[in-house]
Symmetry: C2
Subunit: 148 residues, 2 copies
């Protein structure tokens, strides 16, 4: 192999990125009103159940003030809720509400539907392959890039 694997990986990820960017941030309209940043936060909460404001920021490499803005909006919409930490009263923990979980699931479904149209162009072997490969990429990237 000419190039180092790492460079190949970087190149592949940089090609994947814009494709996901458009396909996943502006999906089919649902009745939910979730911004890309909001989606990221909800996704993190989905995986971790509860996160402090700081943890969300670390998780998504977001400055804390931005986290505040996004969470404020998510609270306004009823998707997440604040609760004070028992041990450290500085900390505010954020968790999904039932509505948040439901609407996020609905959004994922809408995205999935959106994708499904495109995936129909593939053979079932390719779909299987994409299913496996995307899981591998996901797991490895989470292990090294997810900061929480």
């Amino acid at each position: 192999m000419d190039k180092l694997n790492v460079d190949v990986i970087a190149e592949n990820l940089m090609a994947i990125h814009p494709l996901l960017y458009k396909s996943l941030t502006r999906p089919a309209k649902t009745n939910s009103n979730i911004t890309p940043g909001g989606m990221f936060v909800l996704g993190s909460l989905k995986r971790h159940q509860t996160l402090s404001m700081s943890d969300i920021g670390k998780c998504l490499s977001m400055p804390k003030p931005h986290v505040t803005v996004i969470v404020d909006k998510l609270i306004e919409e009823g998707y997440v809720e604040r609760s004070n930490d028992v041990n450290d009263r500085r900390i505010i923990n954020i968790s999904l509400t039932e509505k948040g979980a439901t609407d996020f699931e609905e959004l994922k479904l809408a995205i999935s539907e959106n994708l499904k149209e495109k995936l129909l162009l593939l053979s079932s072997e390719e779909i299987e392959q994409l299913s496996v490969a995307s899981k591998q990429v996901k797991d490895i990237l989470i292990s090294i890039l997810s900061k929480v």
Copy 2:
């Protein structure tokens, strides 16, 4: 398998997306001044050599006015250049300049360096696996999501 493959894929991609978003759009500082949108455009041009304004828009699901804004800035920085189409005088073709190609390569290298730090945590088997899997994901997604 409980869930349909397509839903699994959607879930995986939605987990991959925010990780890439932060790792790839705000990489190590280089002396280039390239916005995320600009990176997308340069990446498209890298793969296709030359694209019309409309094609760029289709490629990236961007409204045409936004393409104009981004390309204007890229021209200002000397990264791309306009040329009139020979057959259809409405069409303006955009292509990378030498500087654009160089600086984009440099940017990719910076991102690659950035990633390399994290990838050091992985075994060589995992790196190999990520290399293969990311290529599979890339190729399949390009085949169904890339509109040009």
